[in-house]
Symmetry: C2
Subunit: 229 residues, 2 copies
């Protein structure tokens, strides 16, 4: 196909921009702002404008001066391909190389740019076609399809709600290490027992053990509410 020509010709930088635009595009339904891209990529707005022009030239984004940017179908497909690779590599690092979930992202940022269909499909098979990465984020399949899991922030559910911890919103090493230290992990059964009026902190029961967590922590943990009582 002619419009797949890009795939193996894209530079690392182009791929990173496409990925960033994808992530920013999820949140709001609006076009993505130049400044937002610049901030997330730790670069200057003028550099972003330059790159946007190139990406637009290659039909990866829709762009009109001063109007922000959005991915084309091709751009979207490209982004999903890179995210698929990133998350599969993260699973590999945890499952096969005993990395902890706070160590994988940095290396996956490099590995996601390796170009080989056979490589990524074999890896997928080796890992038994995982549906989620170590942080609970969904892994797109070969065709870019994936289902966002039904989940809610722990800070949003009513009292007495319970469920399984299925993901983290902030997946910075700092937060992940904090969770490790406090024995909180994906798969844990969590139930909200009480919410403190004063500061919004929560008393929870996690795998039978009682503990208190701040509102900030709760607003970065996803649970799949199973049994309301």
């Amino acid at each position: 196909m002619y419009f797949c020509v890009n795939k193996y010709l894209m530079t690392r930088s182009e791929e990173n921009y496409i990925k960033t635009i994808f992530h920013l595009g999820r949140k709001g339904t609006q076009e993505v702002a130049t400044n937002a891209i610049a901030e997330l990529m730790e670069t200057k707005p003028s550099s972003v404008t330059d790159m946007i022009k190139r990406l637009s030239e290659k039909d990866l984004v829709n762009y009109k001066r001063y109007q922000g940017v959005s991915l084309t179908d091709l751009g979207n497909k490209t982004a999903l391909g890179i995210i698929r690779k990133h998350r599969l590599w993260e699973v590999f690092l945890v499952e096969k190389l005993d990395f902890s979930w706070d160590e994988v992202h940095e290396v996956a940022e490099q590995l996601e740019h390796i170009k080989s269909d056979k490589l990524i499909d074999s890896l997928d098979k080796l890992l038994a076609y995982p549906k989620f990465d170590p942080h609970g984020d969904p892994i797109p399949d070969k065709n870019g399809g994936f289902k966002e899991r039904d989940r809610e922030l722990l800070s949003e559910v009513p009292i007495n709600t319970g469920g399984v911890c299925v993901g983290v919103k902030d997946s910075s090493a700092t937060f992940l290490k904090f969770l490790d230290k406090n024995g909180i992990a994906l798969g844990n059964q969590i139930k909200v027992m009480e919410i403190e009026e004063f500061d919004g902190s929560l008393n929870i029961e996690i795998d039978g053990r009682k503990m208190q967590i701040s509102h900030v922590i709760a607003s970065n943990l996803y649970i799949k509410a199973s049994d309301e009582i």
Copy 2:
């Protein structure tokens, strides 16, 4: 350490040059020629000169105008690190992802540039510390140490000599596929029965089966001569 600073700051291109200089340096004991580098890297001599200057600046190579180039100790160590990664990834691809030995090189050329000590050491462990890659080439250890295996070209051994096939000199996909097609693989027991005066072709017995191979083929197969008769 101060002289290890480079390691994570080297560009892909710099790494490829260092690797090429290493490979060319093995053959002759001479300094490596600009043209030789250019040819192997499919680039122009003037580009090589440019890069050599940069590498010299970073103390990775010894360089005097018109006198060719050689690796410094730091350059040598760097090269061995990259080669270690390349060959470990090749083993991984064959052992864990069912790649065939003619498919691994291209992908390993990309993977060898991934920067993470933990990654490569874990991979080494996962593969049970292999000593040789799928083409029979030795894998340097963590400190860059490796022993060149005792081996000879099949074309160089006298008649009636036997041994195990332990490597290939040419590891192009074309040659490797040819070997597959003819049922020749590393580990096979090979014995030279007769050498044809006319064209230098060899009658061999390989794992019990008799066959004839050209001189060119024989001069690209390494055996470890075990039992002379």
